[in-house]
Amino acid sequence: MVTVLFYTLAAITLATTVLCLTRNNPVHAVLYLVQALFALALLYFMLGAPLLAAWQVILYAGAIMVLFLFVIMLFEPPVADKRTSGRLTHWFFPVMLGGLLLACGGALIAMDPAAKASLSSYWLTPRDYGRALFERYALAVEIISLILLFAAVGAFHLGRRYRSTTKEDVS
């Protein structure tokens, strides 16, 4: 049963990723990507990494997708096609895949409410994760803090407005 769930989720991930790559409407693409990320989070959970699954949802599906949508909205926002928006084919794939995803999540909880069984032999609890991260990869965490700092500084430098600029920069 767990194996069936695993392959279902893997298929959903693949399908949503392919759909994400082939959509013309960027907003649709991002929403498919969110579905792919949710499916991946469930896979992480099944493989015994619950905290990673949570970060996947919070960081990727939550924060980074917001950024993607912002970037899309910075440019001309896509106009919804009035002719197709009511049709069944328009709704079928996202709803079906989303429903399947929800069913998989529900099945996972129903089968394994204590969240103990996993496909891998090792269940990485959040405590173990935190301990490994800060004991063995402490230096990596500090390097990441510097990378984050410069991500903010760099984005600010490239995105801010200058007063004494040429015409292109204003606007």
Binding site: A110, P113, R131, V141
Partner: protein
């Protein structure tokens, strides 16, 4: 004797179904159901109770009584995007702080020093952005 057996079996079955974790699940399902019901009923109430008129004129975006002169959804200005990037940066920070927090007692003082270094670095980032006016909204100063 027989009836007693049956009753204990039934009890055992019920117990297995409604183990403490099972009750948690029921509570969770109830919670989800309640949340959905409340939101759904509020939305539906607005739909049924509200007064509705449909006309093409009403569908038009309102621009102080003037005819609309462009798309209703223009591109967002860049400051929104900057705010989004800063949000992501500090959101990633949360992932590390929470990873430390779940194991803070195992990591001890050394872990505290490490996470303090991490947080201070990002606080400096925040201080820099604040000083350079990245968090200012509205017309630019200076």
């Amino acid at each position: 004797m027989a009836s007693e057996n049956i009753s204990t079996e039934q009890l055992a079955g019920l117990d297995a179904l409604m183990s403490p974790l099972g009750w948690d699940l029921v509570a969770f399902a109830l919670y989800v159901g309640l949340a959905c019901t409340i939101v759904g009923s509020l939305l539906l109430a607005a739909r049924f109770l509200g007064h509705r008129t449909r006309s093409p004129l009403k569908g038009q975006p309102y621009e102080c009584g003037v005819e609309p002169s462009g798309p209703a959804r223009p591109g967002y200005p860049v400051p929104f995007y900057l705010t989004a990037i800063f949000f992501v940066v500090f959101d990633v920070e949360v992932a590390f702080i929470a990873s430390w927090a779940v194991a803070y007692d195992l990591l001890g003082w050394q872990g505290l020093a490490q996470i303090a270094f991490f947080i201070i670095t990002l606080l400096i980032a925040l201080f820099y952005l604040w000083r350079r006016g990245a968090l200012d909204w509205g017309p630019q100063r200076r």
